[in-house]
Amino acid sequence: MIAKFVGRTAAVLGLMAGLSAAAGAQTQTVNFEVKPVNQFSITSTAVTLTITTATAGSDPAPVSDASSRWAVTTNQTGAKISASIPTAMPAGLTLGVALAAPGGASTTAQNLSASSQDLVTGITKVATGNLTVTYTLTATAAAGVILPDSRLVTYTMTPGA
């Protein structure tokens, strides 16, 4: 009899202990979404390229500038960067540009023209910056002396899928 009572009391106390340990709780539903994100920037002021020298017997020596940097963020697959200039370069003068590629992407140096040229392709799910932009100005002797001129380079990022 005593054992039965003790057992029952213990059971009740056990229940009590369980109840005492119970915590108040409540839930809340939170909704999420990640949209396509594609951002590209070039950090640079104007770049000046001046051809002044040559090796005798060769065309004037090309000049390069690698002071500009670019950065990109995309959460898609296969984005690309292309570039163009509004009007063609003077005869005998070529403006080339090359962008260092983020990991997994491919880069191609291009001579700029009014037609858009692909510079970096296959940019996939990456956020990276401080990538080098290299401009190269090349002139043939036939270009002669050219007064200061400028071109505005327009870069375009095409999102991937």
Partner: protein
């Protein structure tokens, strides 16, 4: 007679027990409006996190010992996404911002409720939803956040 005494004792214990269980409750009193949506970035950096805010309140009774508030999710977040929760609460020790998962994490510990019965205390909830580019585009989804207050 013995049976009646035993029944009364049992009933008394159960009553005491049931009073204990409602000593503290917690509830959300406001939540983030709409969807936490990531849709922009600064070039070169991870997509910009999406914030959300809300409020919660607790109903406590003094002399219950120290309590803590924990939080968890019903299921893990998708790969390369994170839900970080921060709470403010006037009592206890705030553990700061915590990334939530299915395992409860302490948000506020060592809470000594003020003396008295049914004391309501209000706190704030701040969410930050982050994603790396590797997460890709993620279709709308939801998670259930559970706040718990207890020993």
């Amino acid at each position: 007679m013995k049976t009646v005494t035993r029944s009364l004792l049992t009933a008394a214990l159960l009553l005491f027990g049931s009073r204990t269980v409602v000593a503290q409750t917690i509830k959300f009193t406001g939540g983030p409006s709409g969807t936490l949506q990531i849709n922009s970035a600064v070039a070169g950096q991870n997509p910009t996190s999406a914030p959300g805010a809300g409020t919660f309140s607790t109903l406590t009774k003094g002399n219950q010992g120290t309590l803590r508030i924990q939080a968890k999710l019903d299921q893990a977040m998708p790969a390369n996404t994170t839900l970080v929760l921060s709470l403010t609460y006037p009592f206890g020790t705030n553990q700061g911002a915590k990334a939530l998962g299915i395992t409860p994490v302490d948000m506020i510990i060592s809470i000594t409720p003020p003396a008295g019965n049914n004391i309501t205390t209000v706190g704030t909830v701040s969410y930050s939803f982050t994603a790396t580019p590797s997460a890709g585009v993620v279709a709308p989804f939801s998670r259930t956040v559970t706040l718990t207050i207890g020993p």
